[in-house]
């Protein structure tokens, strides 16, 4: 009985990692499309986002089935319930990557000095997402805590982008649409960072049982 349960938990773990890999791919693609100013590349992201949503449903029903049939307790319960919460955050990461891609497909963005800082920000966010999933894979508390701390870096990037855009809009020849698109992209990246923090917190919860923050 326990053996079957363990196998199911193992499968859940695998599915979560796969979904994490999808998310990493989605955000990496969006960031690449942004840096290269490549709308064609950005068009592939919504497909990936749909795949992520599909995966979310799958994992959700898997978790519910586990809760119903096995009635897990203690650590098993923490694993299943945190999985149930994590998929929501992962799905949001996928959605927001798709949102970023959608803005890029409008072709207002060009590879420019202005996008350099957003590129740096995207690198930081990708690192957060990758690390949060790595923390989940390795059940690494230190890494999860590092992800939570790293959010400050992304936040300060967002502030920098904001200041840069304010300066840009102050110029007489400012392109308003371009500036607002950049601002939205930066905001989406910042939100993705927050979701990565959530994932890290759920990883901590599944290990320790303490819900911080």
């Amino acid at each position: 009985m326990r053996l079957i349960f363990d196998e199911q938990l193992d499968l859940l773990n695998k599915e979560l990692i796969t979904m994490g890999a999808f998310c990493e791919n989605a955000i990496a693609l969006s960031a690449k499309a942004l840096t290269e100013g490549n709308p064609a590349l950005a068009k592939t992201v919504p497909d990936l986002s749909a795949q992520i949503d599909h995966k979310e449903r799958e994992i959700e029903s898997m978790c519910l089935k586990l809760l119903l049939q096995r009635q897990p307790v203690a650590k098993d319960l923490r694993v299943v319930s945190s999985a149930l919460k994590m998929v929501t955050d992962m799905a949001r990461i996928g959605d927001q990557s798709a949102d970023i891609a959608e803005i890029i497909t409008l072709a207002n963005i060009r590879a420019d000095d202005d996008t350099q800082i957003i590129h740096d920000m995207s690198v930081a966010v990708i690192k957060m997402v990758t690390d949060s999933i790595d923390a989940f894979v390795k059940k690494d508390m230190q890494m999860a805590k590092a992800v939570i701390a790293y959010d400050d870096v992304v936040d300060s990037f967002f502030d920098e982008v904001k200041e840069m855009l304010i300066a840009l809009l102050g110029k007489p020849e400012a392109d308003g649409e371009y500036a607002i698109d950049l601002l939205m992209i930066a905001k989406y990246f910042e939100r993705i960072g927050d979701h990565a923090v959530n994932i890290a917190q759920w990883v901590l919860f599944s290990i320790t049982g303490n819900k911080e923050g």
Binding site: D10, K14, I17, T18, A21, V137
Partner: protein, 551 residues
């Protein structure tokens, strides 16, 4: 063991016990019965004499305790009985002892009572008057006796049981103890039982065989481990569920895996989706190939399903670093594109001029210059093709060229002299200094090294500049240096100028001329001679190329 021994002991004890009881009982009972019978016969004799002498009155003062005396007439009617009322007794004529007595004068018989608890012995004697005197004595039957012995028998039986338990335990311990103490690691050192020696010898031979096989196996797995471990390619074995069974050090390094990754899922090492696709395919029995990027390098992944009896038992995953290969392929592609481009350019001019001449659209005075242009462009093409041929020759290793002791100074002098016209045309002074230096090499290649370096030094020079060729002969090396006062090479280009068709300034390549292959030839020729090339250059001040030949 104890149980079995106990059972046998118990059985033996019981059998002996029961047999002896029956034997003794049967024998003794008969013996006592016979004795009693003899005594009875004597008593009957005495009583018969008494009765003969005294008649029936003999019975009146007779005190009978053990015996029962009866007197029976010839017709079987009981005349007297010491135990029962004669009136109630039936005819005794049919009784065995009476019959015998009537016929022989004396009769005996033994009968069991109705309940079998008693046995009566009878003795009958015919008296002179024809009546029969019968004495009987009753004895307890053998069953009653046995019944009476139940208690002692049970006690004896219990004692036998307890004794056999204790004995069985002791015996089995005695038997088992040396067996338990046998040193199975050295079977032949035991001398407890002769009966066990074939067994021990067999164990010994099997142990030896096993040790040999184990050693062989360990050696083989060591060999395999060493081979797999020292492989540059990553190799991972996965079971049918995608869990890692074995991973070599190259793959570990590549995927940042710790030693505890065996048994964990492949997904936890690498989340690359292409890799997962290939793996999923392999687990369904399909061979898969793909290339992925890891740490900024390109890797080709090969996943081969391990199929046995039509079931996928696992997957062998190989990771090859193909970065160099891809780079080489790219260089080759660029080379092909460049060659076709470089060949096309002069051909276009040639074909254009030739077309004009063919259609007779050229003034008579222009015909000579046109022909000159065609000649010039054709010359460029010949030069290019020659360069490509010598390059491809160098690529093959220049195996058919003759190695001989050559004086580099003489070769350099020849090259400088042949370049003198160009130098004069470009207003550049060309000078050679140094000492003769004999090295073992291929003269054509050494010549082309000096020639191409000087050619470049002249081409990329300022007006009134100078080119200084120096040959130094040192203890274990010969140094050729070509110093110019030209335009110099920026640091970011210094690495790449030896690439085929690479030009620092692409826009002026036509004006300067050359094929773009000269330095490439120098690089290859130097490589064949194991020589090192060094560039010292400052933009605008000039460059120095130093080629160091080992002696």
């Amino acid at each position: 063991m104890t149980k079995r021994i106990f059972r046998s002991i118990c059985l033996v004890a019981l059998t002996v016990f029961v047999a002896s009881v029956f034997l003794i009982m049967g024998l003794l009972y008969e013996y006592f019965s016979d004795a009693m019978q003899a005594q009875l016969k004597m008593q009957t004799d005495l009583a018969a004499q008494g009765v003969t002498n005294e008649g029936i009155s003999y019975f009146h003062d007779l005190k009978v305790t053990n015996y029962r005396i009866s007197l029976i007439d010839m017709n079987g009617n009981v005349l007297y009985d010491s135990a029962s009322d004669i009136a109630k007794m039936g005819n005794h004529l049919e009784r065995e002892e009476i019959q015998q007595a009537i016929i022989k004068g004396y009769g005996e018989s033994r009968r069991y009572s109705a309940t079998l608890t008693e046995r009566s012995l009878y003795c009958a004697q015919k008296l002179d008057d024809g009546t029969i005197l019968r004495l009987s004595i009753s004895q307890r039957s053998i069953f009653t006796l046995l019944l009476g012995m139940v208690q002692p028998v049970c006690i004896v039986f219990l004692i036998a049981l307890v004794l056999s338990i204790v004995l069985a335990k002791q015996v089995s311990q005695k038997i088992v103890k040396p067996i338990n103490e046998i040193d199975l690691d050295n079977p032949l050192s035991n001398e407890e039982y002769d009966e066990l020696s074939p067994f021990l010898r067999r164990i010994d031979s099997q142990q030896k065989q096993m040790r040999a096989q184990k050693a062989e196996l360990a050696q083989k797995s060591d060999e395999l481990d060493t081979i797999i471990g020292s492989m540059n390619e990553g190799m991972i074995l996965l079971n049918s569920k995608g869990k890692i069974i074995s991973i070599n050090s190259a793959a570990k390094k590549l995927l940042d895996a710790g030693n505890d990754c065996i048994g964990s899922d492949m997904l936890s090492l690498c989340r690359n989706l292409e890799l997962q696709d290939v793996l999923a395919k392999a687990l369904h029995g399909e061979q898969g190939q793909n290339s992925i990027k890891l740490h900024g390098e390109s890797y080709q992944i090969d996943a081969d399903p391990i199929v046995s009896e039509n079931i996928v038992k696992g997957t062998a995953l190989f990771l090859f670093n193909v970065t160099e290969k891809e780079k080489a392929e790219q260089i080759r592609r660029e080379f092909t594109a460049n060659v076709s481009h470089e060949l096309k350019t002069p051909l276009h001019s040639i074909s254009g001029y030739a077309e004009l001449l063919k259609n007779d659209m050229v003034k008579e005075a222009d015909k000579i210059p046109f022909a000159g242009k065609i000649y010039e462009e054709a010359g460029r093409m010949i030069q290019l093709v020659e360069d490509i041929i010598s390059l491809s020759h160098l690529d093959e290793g220049a195996g058919d060229m003759q190695w001989e002791n050559t004086d580099l100074y003489t070769l350099a002098d020849k090259a400088v002299q042949s370049l003198e016209p160009q130098a004069n045309a470009a207003c550049v002074t060309l000078a050679l200094s140094g000492v003769p230096a004999v090295i073992n090499g291929i003269p054509q290649l050494l010549y082309s090294i000096v020639y191409n370096l000087c050619d470049n030094a002249i081409k990329y020079n300022h007006e009134n500049g100078s080119v200084m060729v120096t040959i130094e002969n040192e203890n274990n090396k010969v140094v050729l240096s070509v110093q110019d006062t030209g335009i110099g090479i920026a640091p970011e280009h210094q690495e790449r100028i030896f690439e085929r068709f690479y030009r620092v300034d692409k826009s002026h390549s036509k004006a300067v001329g050359g094929t773009g292959l000269g330095l490439s030839i120098v690089k290859h020729a130097a490589k064949i001679h194991n020589a090192k090339i060094e560039i010292k250059s400052l933009v605008g001040k000039g460059s120095t190329v130093i080629v160091t030949f080992p002696k």
